[in-house]
Amino acid sequence: GSADQETSSGGAGGSGGSGGTPVKLQLQWVTQGQFAGYFAAVDQGFYREEGLDVQILEGGSDIVPQTVLAQGQADYAIAWVPKALASREQGAAITNVAQVFQRSGTLQVSFASAGITDVAGLRGKKVGNWGFGNEYELFAAMTAAGLDPSSDVVLVQQQFDMLGLLQGDIDAAQAMTYNEYAQLLEATNPETGEQYTAGDFTVLDWNEVGTAMLQDAVWASTDRLADTAYQEQTVKFLKGSIRGWAFARDNPEQARDIVVAQGSTLGASHQLWQVNEVNKLVWPAAGGAGLIDEAAWQRTVQIARDTRNAEGQTVITTEPDDAAWTNDHVQRALDELSADGVDVTGTGFSPRTVTLEPGGA
């Protein structure tokens, strides 16, 4: 297939095609289970039912979703809160309208044999991270534990894969629960010839350490939010998205298939694992999916202001203004969905137990 064909079909992201208000959603990475809810909403026609024709734009390593949004090339963007706050400081007028992931999905993983059971155990170790703004939870945790990130550990650039950890180049590696951690469990232990098990590793979970920062959220244009039509559209968009996420919660296999059909090449069991893990980040949502928890927000802002990285930089330098987030729209969406009988809290959600096949197949 020629390049333009594939991009446009990929860019179409399953756009309904039938009329509707055109809406563009910018993702922060390529198509994968992390974004299952949005793909499911398109696939299941949830957006169409709201009168929206949603086109999903994939991300790349240098695509910054929130600036794409701020430049007006997308109507909504999925972005991590600290990075989006940084962009706000640089003048990107964007507002968090729904905190889809209520929890952080980032881990620091090491071999159990290395004995890194707490953050202090990182002292003197080779600590891997991706950079790309994913390192602040780690730095906050180290700072809290009395380690100086720039001198007490060796910071190592980590690749997309986990070979560094497996080959012993890195002592503690960064991993998303829904992706890289699964890669570890899909890999074969050369000593036993069997797959690795969770028992082979110890993990530092920032949610438990207390330095978790808010991740995937839906961001909207602050300026356009003054406009009632855009407000309406935002509510509709959030309704469709939350229904999508509810669908992914209730039908993870189907959600997996939808993502695969969109061109993800990750293995089937891996994708299912990913959808399942992402569900854990969304559900249960006490006040309803997407509702921004003020405490979590404040913690994120605090860490973003106080934590210095290896260069001595913080993510943001001042308290974000009030326009940085609002629950108005997501609340309306939740209310309307509840009225329609959609379970928006997932109180009864219990994750599956996904068995990872070798290589994620």
Binding site: A3, V30, G60, L163, L166, E180, Q183, S264, P358
Partner: protein
Amino acid sequence: MTELLATARAERAAPVPGAPAGRLATALRRGAMALVGVAVLVLVWELYRALGPVQGVQVGGERLLPRADPRSMPGVVEVLRTLGRPEVSLPGSRTVGVAVLAAAGGTLLMAAGGWVLGSVVGIGLAVLMQRFRLVERGLLPYVVLSQTVPVIAIAPLVAGWGGRLQLTPALSWQPWMSVVVLSAYLAFCPVAVGMLRGLHATTGIARELFRSFAATGRQTLLGLRFPASLPFLAPALRLAAAQAVVGAIVAEISTGTRGGIGRLVLQYAQQATSAPGRLYAAILGAALLGLLASALVASLVAVLGVLVHRSGGPR
């Protein structure tokens, strides 16, 4: 000073370009030797895998010879096998090999666009720099330095501003166009530098001759400098082809554009923990793609050369 004439004479010793049989034989021989090269590489790889130390060789704390374990250096057979496996373990999935081929095709198209654009810009700049000494002084350092600005710094600009362009009412900016532009960004430099060198590579006598004819700048350019630059332009275009491929791949990753080998590398790299063979398969695809691009440009240049030669013009 006699450089130009000298090449011309030296190249006369080579087989006359007019003879088709000779050309075919040379092409065949070249292809065969390339295969020999690949075979040697494969052999060295496999031998090292079989005999090399699993933890490599460290000298003074730095590993100077690589590790030989299967995760670091997957076997050639394993990589080839990967090509035949389905990409996703769902029915109807295409094989990795097909995916690599399709992606290579996609990148080739975008790289071709970048090559053409970059070459045109590069030649234009070179002509400008040759015509105006001051422009050369002012611009040449920046042409070279432009290549030290990483794509990460300009990708958001290109993707961002491109995204706002409405080329025609029917055609808006497509993501692949960003890739083409970024690919051209890497391709134009060798062309500009090589072409400029070629435009300067005239003998003093020839330049004076044209001066004595009171030839206009354009006439000197077309009648003297252009023909004289051809021996320099040809390799520059080949370098540019390789750079265009690199640029296209980097830009695909950078902008997340689908349909090319860069995107595939990105995807497969994320799976490298458990299936390192896939990454190698994609890399193999990238390497072959680069070769193909260089070879295509080389044959294009050769064909043009023969055509021009037939017409009694520059060779």
